[in-house]
């Protein structure tokens, strides 16, 4: 088991009796907006700490882990990711430097860009990308870091339906091929039904359905 939540309460936003997430599984989190999905996702990388109850990661309480080390294993892509100043290559190299990773080759950066359907030169300014392109760059940045668990908050919210399908397939293939665990908030029940092993519906801060 990768995660276990027991009697978790976070402010007046979330109340979860019990929940488990299996390792190497794909979990979709759905529900109406404002229901607490992002807050819920942040419990898994300790960006939010439960006021009551316990969150376990690999059978240890989450606060047993150093938060930074935990976030390098359980990496989150927020709904509105920020691209860093500089070029596309800078966006990759900066995060590698800041997270003490060895610098990868430009070929690897290029490969990642093409994976998320960004066929631009590496020296292109990141600020010039459209909203959807920035989201894909941020996704490629997470894949570069190669974490064990990916927490993706609406990773395709700024994409048209064709690109959305394509990008989600890229993510799902990446997760399956590399035996990762994925928790993904999505507005699309279709995507959830097509790809997820487990679907959690959150409404008003509570789990309405878990199947």
């Amino acid at each position: 088991m990768m995660f276990e939540l027991s009697a978790v309460k976070f402010k007046d936003i979330l109340l979860i009796d019990y929940l488990t997430i299996e390792a190497q599984s794909i979990t979709a989190v759905v529900g109406s907006s404002g229901g607490g999905k992002t807050t819920f996702l942040k419990l898994f990388n300790n960006m939010n700490s439960a006021d009551q109850g316990d969150v376990f990661y690999k059978n240890r309480k989450i606060n047993y882990y150093d938060p930074v080390k935990l976030r390098r294993e359980v990496t989150m892509l927020p709904q509105n990711p920020v691209v860093f100043p500089g070029s596309l290559a800078d966006n990759f190299s900066l995060i590698e430097k800041l997270t003490d990773h060895k610098l990868s080759s430009f070929t690897k950066y290029k490969k990642l860009l093409s994976k998320v359907d960004l066929n631009y030169k590496l020296d292109r300014a990141a600020a010039d990308l459209s909203g959807g392109e920035k989201q894909r760059l941020a996704l490629a940045r997470v894949m570069l870091l190669d974490p064990e668990v990916l927490l993706l908050d609406e990773p395709s919210s700024a994409l048209d339906s064709l690109t959305e399908q394509k990008i989600i397939e890229v993510v799902v293939n990446y997760v399956k091929n590399k035996a990762k665990t994925l928790l993904m908030v999505t507005h699309s029940t279709r995507l959830a039904n097509d790809y997820a092993d487990q679907i959690i519906t959150i409404e008003d801060g509570k789990i309405k359905e878990n199947k």
């Binding site: 300790n46 938060p67 927020p78 940045r141 870091l145």
Partner: protein
């Protein structure tokens, strides 16, 4: 020609108030307002300087380490209070503590070095040197910290989303705000650097002017001015360094989450 101090007579001093009168006339005519503020500021300045004049006269004539230390501590307390009131947002308790500790530590270390190593003041508490030197170090460090803390606070509040992005990717909190802290440090020491650049060309600094008016040779005055400028640079650097090193940590909790 022998240089002597020209002692201003009361009547001469009264002539100087003509400048306030001119300001009041302009402000009134242009309907800018603030006449009351200008009068209060002029009166406060006069009263405060009269009081400090008598206090310093007494302290200089009755040299005592306790007097020098008491005035030093008073200056520190006023400076810290001034920083609190000049900060644009409400400061948290632990940040207030860090500001006070940084001010005391940075200025006292620099002052001790300046008094014992540079000037080699004997006795070390000689008030006519000790108090003005301490005042200059504390005053400039106060400005430095005020600039540094304001930049730090606005920087973190404006870039909250970017910082959280960094944290989610597994970046250490300190590194996630490195750009902001570097800029805050630079902003804090910039006035001192600018003042060094313009010194002697754009303006004659206060301490040097004072010594020259008091009859000292300009060659002696510049030596003191150079030394005190370097002392100020050291004091501002140290206080702002302590502020940023320890203050930056107060923006994160024990779970390395950004708390705003």
């Amino acid at each position: 020609m022998e240089r002597q101090i020209i002692n201003l007579q009361l009547t001469q001093l009264i002539f100087a108030y003509l400048f306030v009168f001119i300001l009041l006339v302009i402000v009134k005519k242009k309907q800018i307002g603030q006449e009351k503020q200008i009068i209060i500021a002029s009166l406060r300045m006069t009263l405060q300087l009269i009081i400090i004049g008598f206090i310093l006269e007494y302290v200089f004539n009755n040299q005592n380490p306790l007097f020098s230390l008491a005035i030093l501590i008073l200056m520190e307390i006023f400076a810290v209070h001034n920083i609190y009131s000049r900060t644009e947002v409400e400061l948290q308790h632990d940040m207030r503590k860090i500001i006070a500790v940084s001010m005391f530590l940075g200025t006292l270390l620099s002052l001790a070095y300046f008094i014992f190593i540079v000037v080699q003041l004997k006795p070390w508490f000689r008030a006519d040197y000790f108090i003005p030197l301490a005042g200059m170090l504390i005053g400039n460090s106060m400005t430095g910290i005020s600039l540094g803390i304001n930049h730090l606070l606005t920087g973190i509040s404006d870039k909250q989303q970017l910082i959280e992005n960094y944290l989610m990717l597994g970046v250490e909190p300190e590194k996630s705000i490195a750009e902001i802290t570097q800029q805050a440090f630079y902003n804090a020491i910039l006035p001192t650097i600018n003042s060094m650049l313009g010194m002697g060309i754009v303006f004659l600094p206060g301490m040097m002017t004072g010594q020259i008016l008091a009859g000292a040779s300009p060659l002696i005055a510049i030596k003191y001015q150079i030394a005190i400028m370097l002392g100020i640079l050291g004091s501002v650097t140290l206080t702002v360094f302590f502020l940023i090193k320890y203050g930056a940590k107060t923006f994160f909790n024990s779970e390395k989450q950004l708390k705003l």
